[in-house]
């Protein structure tokens, strides 16, 4: 079953893959291919292999949306830039948002990793991306993401949430926890407008 997440208030399949996931698909495809040479397996393996092509190699037009860590992106920027499909970067809490700014148009997805329930730096990263750098693509929260954080995350501009499967439905409700707010923020992750104090 494909991985699902909450995007713009709807439960959808997640098309994004990490390099490790693509590698696994490639290996699986190669193994399957050796046995059955099935067209489907060959296709997936080729796509995965092409996506992971080393610098200098001729990239195939794979089209697989590829989600990198900031560390992967920043250490092999040229390699990943050559990727033909959509590109996304997930920031760890200590990663500098500002380092992504020169390449912002290249990214269809940006996001923040939340290693545990107490982590709060991603909230600032989200707001900066939306409000200071006007990022308009998918803004994703990964890691420890639960229904109780969604309203706050959405107010920081996040519109994509990797929730545990059991919380996908309640997560939609959690986006409406409060109907008003005291302070201006970025509410692009909420589906409806909040009332604010003047």
């Amino acid at each position: 079953m494909p991985r699902q997440l909450l995007l713009d208030g709807a439960i959808v399949n997640d098309p994004w893959r990490t390099p490790a996931e693509l590698e696994a698909i490639a290996l699986e495809g190669a193994a399957l291919g050796a046995e059955a040479r099935g067209a489907e397996a060959r296709g997936a393996a080729a796509l995965a292999a092409a996506t992971l092509a080393a610098p200098g190699a001729e990239p195939a037009d794979s089209g697989a949306p590829l989600m990198l860590t900031f560390a992967q992106w920043s250490t092999q920027r040229d390699r990943w830039s050559a990727h033909r499909g959509l590109l996304g970067v997930i920031l760890a809490p200590a990663d500098p948002v500002e380092a992504l700014v020169p390449d912002l148009p290249r990214f269809a997805l940006l996001g923040a990793e939340f290693p545990g329930p107490g982590e709060g730096r991603g909230y600032t990263q989200g707001r900066l991306l939306r409000e200071r750098w006007y990022f308009e693509g998918e803004l994703r929260a990964r890691g420890y993401v639960r229904q109780d954080q969604l309203f706050l995350l959405a107010r920081c501009g996040f519109n994509s949430f990797e929730l545990p499967e059991s919380e996908l439905e309640v997560g939609r409700i959690a986006l409406a926890t409060f109907s008003a707010a005291y302070q201006p923020a970025n509410d692009s992750g909420l589906r409806r407008a909040l009332r604010h104090r003047s």
Partner: protein, 613 residues
């Protein structure tokens, strides 16, 4: 907002004839009431018995913030949210680790004996109606008392976990909550308990406290900070809010050309690593307050340490960067935020101001109400009341420091009595002080004696405000799961030792502050005498510091030497005070003698011979 209508329990002080003639006073009261969203009844003179605390005819609309529909909705939605979180925890869907940050942000701790619920009293301000609700909760959900804290909040030590959502619902009915009274978020903003009435006040800090309360409530970006975050605001010459030992201290000031604004301090704090706050910005025009706070919080949220809970407060970041570099980063961030959507318009600032307009004071002259009165009243009046900016009025402390009661504790019946007294004598409004007493801010001097009698009868008139036995004290080992040692027992021992009021008064102004552990909830570092509970091989010992202060001249106390056993604490204090009495110069406070002489003579006396306990 629809005003709540309830029976009026205020006995009108003015005869009908005078009320009819007092149109000007009444008109002002009506306008104030309308601004606060209160309903003004037709026929002002016949208002008695109709609309309770909103009653503008009495001029007794308490100067507290009134919720509008946004406030009411947010608090109600928070109760719903927390009810669901509690249900999930009790059903096993949330682990304790997952529930902890959620319950803490609603003021709920799991303590030694039972859960502890901390209820927010924004900047310490309460209406009589709210205090009655707190009393009712104490009686029905707790064991008939509550504990007032140094953050001007109230704690209940015995609520049942599954009933906490019900308590929050009851609080919401009187426009109260427990939001952000714990957890790594922006806590209750504290302020001067004499706000609005102090003769040395430049500007009333309460509208600014409320502006900060709203901005910081459910702030989407700053709810998961590295550590807790405390802001204090003061608008007087004398800092009575301990603002220099807060993460941010906001001082209302006037700029060179008379423009209203703020001096912003940051990086103060107590706990394991006590540090005095430093100036980040000398002058900030008032419209920029929130954008500047947001800049500071953003730098802290991004760069504050998260690897070690003991190094996670903003004071550690400020110290590591140095104040210049910290300031540079804040200013750089602020340049991006200033003049943005957080900019405060004059209309909003003025709207907040209307909630805290002065009540309808009567035109009176100052006089001495103690003339010809009994000695006990004279002592009480001298120590438990303080100057008021309006002639004929005094601010009156309700002492929660009776010798045989834990400092800051109050029973439900006492709360109800004080609520009634607030209605009778102080416009239905009262405050919690950071020294764990209550205050009736607007009492006519001529009413002082009647008020004293009522307080005296309830054990709330111990004439010790500002003296040795007006101790700040955390709940300590008796209740708190963090504590190393008891505090309440020590307070009791000190009270037993120093029961001679002549001696207490002779010692003059003396701040004793006690914490049961390094977390310093009792502010021991900034006590003139500080007492810290330490654990020594499973026994409760106490480390003594002297020379600390929390005001404008804030300083950290110096440890006098090895810690002393429980039985030696009172003796140690006795010896410290004996040195003071011998060495002091005329009119010199204990604190100043310590500052002049240093620790040495005090230390020598304390450790000269074993304490005969």
């Amino acid at each position: 907002m629809r005003p709540r209508v309830s029976a009026c329990d205020i006995t009108c002080q003015l005869p009908t004839g005078r009320r009819k003639r007092g149109a000007a006073v009444r008109g002002a009261a009506v306008r104030g009431a309308q601004r606060r969203g209160a309903k003004v009844p037709k026929g002002m003179a016949s208002c008695a018995g109709i609309i309770g605390e909103h009653c503008p005819g009495h001029g007794k609309v308490p100067a507290v913030y009134r919720y509008d529909d946004i406030d009411a909705e947010l608090v109600a939605e928070r109760v719903t949210q927390f009810r669901d979180q509690t249900r999930r925890f009790l059903a096993g869907a949330l682990t304790e680790d997952e529930f902890r940050p959620l319950r803490l942000r609603n003021g709920l701790y799991i303590q030694r004996h039972a859960p502890m619920l901390r209820v927010a009293i924004p900047y310490g301000l309460l209406s009589s109606r709210q205090l009655r609700a707190l009393a009712s909760i104490a009686r029905r959900y707790d064991r008939g008392y509550g504990h007032f804290t140094t953050r001007q909040n109230i704690q209940y030590n015995w609520p049942r976990l599954e009933l906490v959502p019900d308590i929050l619902e009851e609080l919401a009915r009187v426009e109260m909550h427990a939001i952000q009274t714990s957890g790594n978020c922006i806590r209750n903003t504290t302020s001067d308990h004499l706000a609005g009435v102090a003769p040395d006040e430049l500007e009333d800090p309460r509208p600014w406290c409320e502006i900060i309360r709203q901005w910081s409530t459910f702030h989407p970006e700053f709810t998961y900070l590295p550590r807790k975050f405390k802001i204090a605001v003061t608008g007087a010459e004398r800092d009575r809010a301990a603002s220099l030992v807060h993460d941010i201290g906001v001082h209302l000031v006037r700029g060179a050309d008379g423009e209203a604004g703020f001096t912003i301090f940051a990086g103060g704090g107590l706990g394991r690593t006590p540090i005095i706050g430093q100036v980040v910005r000398e002058f900030l025009p008032r419209r920029h307050l929130l954008s500047y706070l947001e800049a500071i919080l953003r730098i802290y949220n991004r760069e504050g340490r998260r690897d070690n809970i003991h190094k996670a407060r903003i004071k550690i970041l400020v110290r590591a960067l140095g104040i210049e570099e910290f300031r540079r980063r804040v200013e750089e961030e602020w340049e991006q935020l200033r003049d943005g959507p957080l900019t405060l318009g004059n209309a909003e600032i003025e709207r907040m101001g209307t909630f805290f307009e002065p009540p309808a004071y009567r035109a009176l002259a100052d006089h001495d109400p103690t003339e010809g009165r009994e000695t006990a009243f004279r002592a009480w009046y001298r120590y438990n009341t303080t100057a008021h900016k309006v002639p004929g009025y005094r601010a009156v402390f309700v002492s929660l420091k009776k010798p045989d009661v834990a400092p800051g504790d109050m029973t439900d019946a006492q709360m109800e009595l004080v609520a009634d007294l607030a209605d009778r004598f102080s416009f239905g409004e009262l405050r919690v002080t950071h020294t764990q007493n209550l205050l009736l801010a607007d009492v006519e001097q001529g009413s002082a004696h009647a008020l004293w009698r009522a307080l005296e009868g309830a054990g709330l008139a111990t004439p010790n405000i500002g003296t040795l036995t007006d101790m700040i004290c955390c709940p300590g080992l008796d209740f708190c799961s963090l504590a190393n040692a008891g505090s309440i027992e020590i307070a009791k021992l000190i009270n037993e030792r120093f029961d001679d009021y002549d001696y207490l008064y002779d010692l003059g102004e003396l701040e004793v502050k006690m914490s049961g552990c390094m977390n310093a909830c009792g502010h021991h570092h900034v006590g003139h005498i500080g007492i810290l509970g330490v654990d020594k091989g499973g026994e409760e010992w106490y480390q003594i510091t002297i020379g600390g202060a929390a005001g404008n001249d804030a300083s950290l106390g110096t440890v006098i030497g090895p810690s002393v056993p429980k039985a030696g604490v009172a003796e140690t204090i006795d010896r410290l005070l004996a040195v003071y009495v011998e060495e002091r110069e005329p009119e010199e406070r204990f604190l100043d003698t310590v500052r002049r002489l240093g620790v040495k003579p005090f230390k020598e006396r304390v450790y000269a011979a074993p304490a005969a306990a």
